[in-house]
């Protein structure tokens, strides 16, 4: 592997004096041993799956494969199945709506709360810490809880709506509202992450900037637009791109709330990938779906890496 190949060269370069070769070769081996387990793990549990998925997506890989060991090559057939499945474009649209809606809601509310908690007042640190709770709960727990809250007949939300004179909403049972309900829950889950990161970014903006602006008469909204937002931009980029990459792959929340229904109203590419592989046992089709997901994530990941390059180079 690369580690063992380059390590001796590095140590040789660092100690050009005449020492026994075996000494720094051993040094190189010891150094490489620190990285070897992690490198091996990442190769086996990230590298292999990505390659395997790519290969599988060109094979007829089904339950039969597990008995016969045969997975015939089918070329682009799985991708054709995916695109022609009738659920592909709706799932793409749902993925886009789910992602954009979730990110917009999480970000706006997260930023508002971060700005709010930037003020020092009694208990602010404690309250901000407790705000993290929804982020730390297992997603399936949140899904189950919200499913009881959103229940059409007995959920507390509809009970509340009824008490203020509004009709019951079939939150998870109607194809027209289910996606909105799922987005609302995902916004709730994502707020703590946004608050935490944006709050960290706000802390790094020097107080003098605000003081100088206040002298020029810029306070409140003005200082928010002209100082907070521009200075926060690198952090905002990170939050948005990470948010998109995380939201694209969401499965737990949707499976727990609606299972992709009703009438496929909450099907996303990630859910399609899961269901093709593990419900229909068509692993080739599932792999094709997930490769499309990787491709979309990759586009955003490149944005992230470009924005983050300075940090990594540091």
């Amino acid at each position: 592997m690369t580690t063992t190949a380059t390590a001796p060269a590095v140590s040789a370069q660092r100690t050009p004096t005449a020492r026994p070769t075996s000494r720094f070769r051993r040094e190189g081996v010891v150094k490489a041993m620190f990285l070897a387990p992690a490198a091996l793990y990442i190769l086996l549990f990230f590298g292999y799956p990505v390659v395997k998925n790519l290969v599988m997506s060109f094979q007829e890989y089904t339950t039969k494969t597990f008995f016969t060991g045969e997975a015939p090559w089918v070329g682009w057939e799985n991708y054709a199945t995916v695109v022609n499945s009738g659920l592909f474009w709706p799932a793409m649209l749902n993925t886009a709506l789910f992602t954009v809606g979730s990110i917009a809601g999480q970000f706006v509310i997260g930023l508002a709360l971060a700005v709010f908690f930037r003020r020092r007042f009694p208990l602010s640190g404690f309250l901000r810490a407790m705000l993290l709770l929804p982020w730390l709960l297992p997603l399936i727990v949140s899904s189950a809880t919200w499913r009881s809250i959103l229940d059409q007949d007995s959920g507390i939300l509809n009970e509340f709506l009824a008490s203020v004179g509004l009709g019951a909403v079939p939150w998870l049972n109607s194809p027209d509202v289910a996606l909105i309900a799922v987005i609302l829950v995902n916004i709730w889950i994502g707020i703590p992450f946004n608050v935490t990161i944006l709050y960290g970014g706000l802390q790094d903006i020097p107080e003098e900037l605000y003081e100088a602006a206040a002298l020029d008469g810029a306070t409140g909204w003005k200082s928010f637009w002209h100082i907070t937002l521009p200075n926060l931009r690198p952090v905002i980029n990170v939050v948005l791109v990470l948010g998109v990459v995380y939201t694209l792959k969401v499965i737990d929340i949707i499976l727990g709330l609606t299972n992709g229904g009703p009438a496929n109203a909450t099907q996303t590419i990630a859910i399609r990938s899961y269901q093709s592989s593990f419900v229909d046992f068509e692993f080739g089709v599932g792999a094709a779906f997930s490769n499309i997901l990787i491709l979309i994530s990759l586009v955003f990941a490149i944005f992230y890496l470009r924005g983050n390059r300075k940090q990594v180079d540091e």
């Binding site: 727990v141 792959k249 692993f283």
Partner: protein, 286 residues
């Protein structure tokens, strides 16, 4: 002189009163925001204590708490909670054993390709879990590792290892190379210096990474769902999902299980608050 002093004193006092008034307003607003955000968590507790097991009759306060939901939850899900605990502790140990040495190497050794390695770790975190599940299912099936605790530990570590490497590296960058050099001059090898100098210094970051490894693994649902085919190994997240299919008429049992599954997150947030905060912000730097 004296009048001046009195004037400034009065102004300061006025400012102080105004501040305490605003303080109270802001604290009240903060409490209100928190109450809205945490209402679902409260509702989970409340619903878990409802007697009929039905949210239809749920009152806003559990005035007549019933523990029937917890009895059923313990009877059905008790073993699953133990399974989750075993898997999560295993993931913590395995992840730290892999990530800590790698983080040390990436922080303290000089490699020319270090940016490539960091990039690989970064990208690894972005790969959708379903991609990993898809490939691991096939591989585990061949290796006989489906329905096994080691199989789930290895898979769950995909959440924890890249995250831990990043968190631990960020910390180990701040360990002064001079103390490592000093140990090396005294004749300690890399392994010795790492074990008896760096790890003790990095204790807090190890706790942070370990806590998150635990939470990630405890929360895992996708691998539990895909890499098990029988009921032999059922982490509690999968237990909740199965409940959602069969027990939605008995919400108090479902919610009691949800409460029990939330305990690690709640305990860690209250007791280990500063580690969680460190991890949450560290997670963004990754």
């Amino acid at each position: 002189m004296t009048t001046m002093a009195i004037v400034t004193d009065g102004a300061a006092k006025r400012r102080a009163t105004r501040r305490s008034g605003r303080d109270i307003l802001f604290t009240a607003l903060g409490v209100a925001f928190l109450a809205i955000m945490l209402f679902p968590v409260y509702w989970m507790f409340n619903a878990s204590l409802q007697p009929s097991g039905n949210t239809l009759t749920a009152s806003l306060l559990p005035l007549n708490p019933s523990f029937a939901g917890y009895e059923k939850a313990f009877a059905d899900q008790g073993p699953n909670l133990v399974t989750s605990l075993v898997i999560s502790v295993g993931t913590v140990v395995f992840s730290l054993a892999i990530a800590a040495p790698a983080a040390y190497a990436l922080a303290q050794f000089r490699y020319r390709w270090i940016n490539v390695a960091l990039l690989a770790v970064l990208i690894a975190q972005m790969i959708p879990g379903v991609v990993i599940a898809n490939a691991l299912y096939a591989a585990y099936n061949d290796l006989g590792m489906l329905n096994s605790i080691p199989g789930l530990i290895l898979a769950d570590a995909t959440h924890a290892i890249p995250f831990s490497i990043m968190i631990l590296r960020a910390f180990m960058m701040s360990v002064p190379p001079s103390i490592i050099e000093a140990a090396r001059v005294d004749g300690a090898g890399h392994v010795r210096a790492f074990w008896s100098i760096v790890l003790p210094v990095a204790k807090n970051s190890l706790i942070t990474a370990g806590l998150f490894a635990f939470l990630f693994s405890w929360s895992d649902f996708l691998f539990a769902l895909t890499l098990t085919t029988t009921d032999d190994i059922t982490p509690v997240t999968l237990g909740i999902y199965q409940y959602l299919g069969t027990q939605v008429a008995n919400w108090s049992a479902v919610m009691a299980t949800a409460v029990l599954s939330s305990i690690p997150a709640i305990v860690l947030l209250v007791i280990a608050q500063r580690y969680i905060a460190a991890g949450a912000t560290g997670g963004a730097v990754k």
